[in-house]
Symmetry: D2
Subunit: 260 residues, 4 copies
Amino acid sequence: MDLSADFRLRDASLYEEWYKHTHPAPGLLETAVYGLCERYRASIEGALLVANPGCYATAAILGLIPALAMGIIGPDVIIDAKSGVSGAGRSLTLGTHYAEANEDVSAYSLSGHRHLPEITQELEAAALAGGHPVNQSLRITFIPHLIPMTRGILATCYADLDQDAMQRVSTTAGVRSLYEEYYADEPFVQVVDQPPHTKWTYGSNQCLVYPMVDMRTRRFLVISCLDNLVKGAAGQAIQNANRLYGIPEASGLPAVPLYP
Amino acid sequence: MDLSADFRLRDASLYEEWYKHTHPAPGLLETAVYGLCERYRASIEGALLVANPGCYATAAILGLIPALAMGIIGPDVIIDAKSGVSGAGRSLTLGTHYAEANEDVSAYSLSGHRHLPEITQELEAAALAGGHPVNQSLRITFIPHLIPMTRGILATCYADLDQDAMQRVSTTAGVRSLYEEYYADEPFVQVVDQPPHTKWTYGSNQCLVYPMVDMRTRRFLVISCLDNLVKGAAGQAIQNANRLYGIPEASGLPAVPLYP
Amino acid sequence: MDLSADFRLRDASLYEEWYKHTHPAPGLLETAVYGLCERYRASIEGALLVANPGCYATAAILGLIPALAMGIIGPDVIIDAKSGVSGAGRSLTLGTHYAEANEDVSAYSLSGHRHLPEITQELEAAALAGGHPVNQSLRITFIPHLIPMTRGILATCYADLDQDAMQRVSTTAGVRSLYEEYYADEPFVQVVDQPPHTKWTYGSNQCLVYPMVDMRTRRFLVISCLDNLVKGAAGQAIQNANRLYGIPEASGLPAVPLYP
Amino acid sequence: MDLSADFRLRDASLYEEWYKHTHPAPGLLETAVYGLCERYRASIEGALLVANPGCYATAAILGLIPALAMGIIGPDVIIDAKSGVSGAGRSLTLGTHYAEANEDVSAYSLSGHRHLPEITQELEAAALAGGHPVNQSLRITFIPHLIPMTRGILATCYADLDQDAMQRVSTTAGVRSLYEEYYADEPFVQVVDQPPHTKWTYGSNQCLVYPMVDMRTRRFLVISCLDNLVKGAAGQAIQNANRLYGIPEASGLPAVPLYP
């Protein structure tokens, strides 16, 4: 179980480009499994090395993989994400000082956030695995924002409906139905029927996903949210560890959020 | 000086579609000027009726009009906006109760926020006035979010660079330079060279605008922010009233924010 | 199990004075037990009616009863309490509107908060039961404050050390040792050795208690805190219900807080 | 104009006891004036050295000096103060990290906060100057608390009514009337007739003072609040500098708070 970013990217040179140092153990990359049970459950069981996903990456990927795996959207994707301050970790910076972060919102990492290659890798893989190779080369813009709260990530993702798919699904009810089917058996992903609130995941291992179609523009949107310290970090690691050791996947994981 | 939404939209039928009631005084629509000094300064002077813009609309329009007036972007526009709770007014709803709004973020008005037609009208007019009629018919998705702070709006706007424009401007430095020129004489719009924070506008009448190009995708972005209760409401009304009565435009308006 | 205030006060006339209406069922008062396991565990088992304590009352009483039961302090007591906004309930008032409660602190209920008679009743009873009848008539000032957070109550309580007790205990180490002994077997009260934070109880059923002596003035202080929605409300109700039905007292109650 | 604590205490040895280092310039102490216009206006005019008061000290002293100068209270004083995080300055500590300070309240500096000797010095001096030497030796407990907001200090102060004074003033109306008279000519202290909110001072140089009598216990209370970065720091320094240089005292100082 690795909680760092070292084994998330399959390609060591991509790692070196984004993390600005030589990969510490490229030989292990082949044995590493990306620790997203919703995609790689079978491979995680008994894996030698599990790379726990980033918090933003988990929210964005769980929101978008059904659309890519089912060929609903085209390759242009915008991810506008909002995170609480604990996502920045515990190290002390002026930006995380209470008096600076309180009553403030701003975008950051505009030249490229490190979770972008991870998101791209997994979304492209999902498109390919789903039989939609046209989306093997996505054009993703990912803009994270810091907002004044302790926990929670909400990702608002925008894409164009695929022209062909538009015949099949062109309404919110249509895409929601596909998503519900896709995630029907997942214990920790819920497709919801109203815009989700991060507060509804506070302290729980749930990821809430809300797909919709903007009828004026025929644009596809999906809003996903989770608690960055649970499903976005420690909770997901436990979920992976449970699976790895053959324990029931939900063992020890909080089912309900702390509300309000 | 009208602070309501009644005279913002030139088209009474559009008003009735969005506001769900008969227009109270369609006869006055012709005399009304949209109260954005940065666009209609000359007409506001001595106008019979000035319609003060909405708070989201002010942020989005000031962020995007240079790009449309100068033909930098194409017709596909996404506006992802984040607002503090005072934007919802003082009326009591469960959503603005402290225990609900605190430690939470969510999107709302997904079937269409009332500021959308106002934004569309003004952006299309700017494109036409700038000699770029191709953008007379924009395809805008506008998604507002509520975040846990009292004041402030930040709009993150995404568009594709226009193919022709890309010859002229394809870098952040390039678009920023065009924006700086466009807003050179404005007392209350500042083009900034780093991602702006709403906190930098707290209590002031400033709108901060940060245009950039995402080099990986050649996508154009502009982030704009302001204090929704000042430049987004009362401050802008004073600015308009000053202009209306021939008083210096900045009279009585706070120049510096309260920080932190 | 009653969560209202109707059966907390033994004296129906006191109830009518504070709650401004006739007591709904004075005949039941005799069968009611004040639902504080730390004081009435034995009586709660099999009780006909358990009156769940108020949130402020729980914090103040758990902080002060050891001092009164052991005769450490005199009859002059000041309780300065700070509560998050959820303590005011879910009803909509201007004071709980986000834009009003955020970035604000104020005292309220200065003419007398309804938890005062409950606190007085229980502290005087503890003094009497402990063999210190001198404190049967306390002189308590209780001032609640609203602070900008969702959950949590912290009570800072001030009293004079009893002259006689001062021979026995005149230091922080001394009073802490007495408190530790007093609460040694309690599953949900912890005597801590540094000033407690409400955040350390977030979502848990714990009450943290920190007694000390201000050496400059020989004044006794005790700071206690808890989550007003758990130990201050629903959690304590479950604790009482467990005891009432002979289930292990800690069943179903969260042991650890959600942090940060 | 000195913003540090070096010249606030008249007694160099007291300074060394509290600040744990040798006084840097004891020779200047005699020329230093404590920079509280409300007490030392005449001496500040033309002073060689003005020591700007601490933020907590300003709130507590302005709340309590009328009571001491007019002999209303006895020598036992408790000051329970609540401060926003900017009071701790801009240096980076775990305690001021957003994720730690948010949704939390705690007491700190329990072994003695550095503003205590300054408060004691000024309150005793006020008692003496007012002809009430009995209070030359006060017994003050001062407990500061950190609460989750950026700006603002609220001090809730408790004391016993002086036995003699009780003949003259034993009601809230009575003490308020005395306070109103005491501060009648002050531009930056307002005696208010309801419990003040720090939000009412946000960004302004005002200190709001609310004296009252708790009729149940005949205890005197005074609640005072201010913006720690304005009246508690830079604003008060400007007020002093104005006075020092013979400029109208309120020049350049914000009269109204930013609300909400």
